[in-house]
Symmetry: none
């Protein structure tokens, strides 16, 4: 299971190292996809297949499903993990999620997410205040 929060660097070659605790579970080839709430999602190949199956089960006659499928499949990419445990973040996904030099990688059970550092901190604060 993927859990935990790690602040990493997105260098000027758009490389980002995966937290070492995620590497074994993630394998050598992963899928980077747009995530909800302006973050990036990353999946193992296996989990990505599950996501795709769910989407293909939903009818393409419903406009919401069509748009969500386009959103996910259209922007997702397979990337390889290099010898140092890093992946290359595609430029279009990077700019979509306002990723800068400092990013936060979080584990959320079956997926990981990459956040703009400030956006993640704001999001956490919001959740805590709502819990009262």
């Amino acid at each position: 299971m993927l859990i935990g929060e790690y602040t990493h660097t997105l260098d000027d070659k758009n490389r980002m190292s995966l937290p070492v605790k995620f590497r074994k579970e993630m394998g050598k080839s992963i899928v980077v996809a747009p995530g909800l709430d302006n973050c990036l999602s990353i999946f193992t190949i296996k989990e990505w297949q599950k996501v795709s199956e769910k989407l293909s089960d939903s009818s393409m006659l419903a406009s919401d499903n069509r748009s969500f499928s386009r959103f996910m499949f259209g922007q997702a990419t397979t990337v390889d993990v290099d010898a140092n445990g890093r992946i290359l973040i595609p430029e279009n996904l990077k700019s979509r999620s306002n990723l800068t030099n400092k990013v936060v990688v979080i584990g959320v059970q079956n997926r990981a997410e990459i956040w703009n550092e400030k956006a993640w901190n704001d999001y956490k604060k919001l959740v805590e205040t709502q819990a009262d």
Copy 2:
């Protein structure tokens, strides 16, 4: 069952020894997670699995479920108990709960909690006055 209150030191390497009375029940690998009311929760692997199962039943398309999952999984970490019965408190969780050199570990049935010493004393007082 985990019960009792223990004042321990959080050293400058963020290590904290578990109360010896908790060690057998906690095992060699435990999960540290954010808790409500500004404390940290620690679970056995088994108890943590129960928590995650509850959360994984909820749909990720609902924004409330998403945010709570991110909050819990994103900040939780698995930590190993070292040869001296200590665990390493992640820096992000430490600062979130205002933990300083002196912390209080309390047992609460199936989980333990780590508190800032002063916050715990204030909380106790508050509960006592409210009980009148």
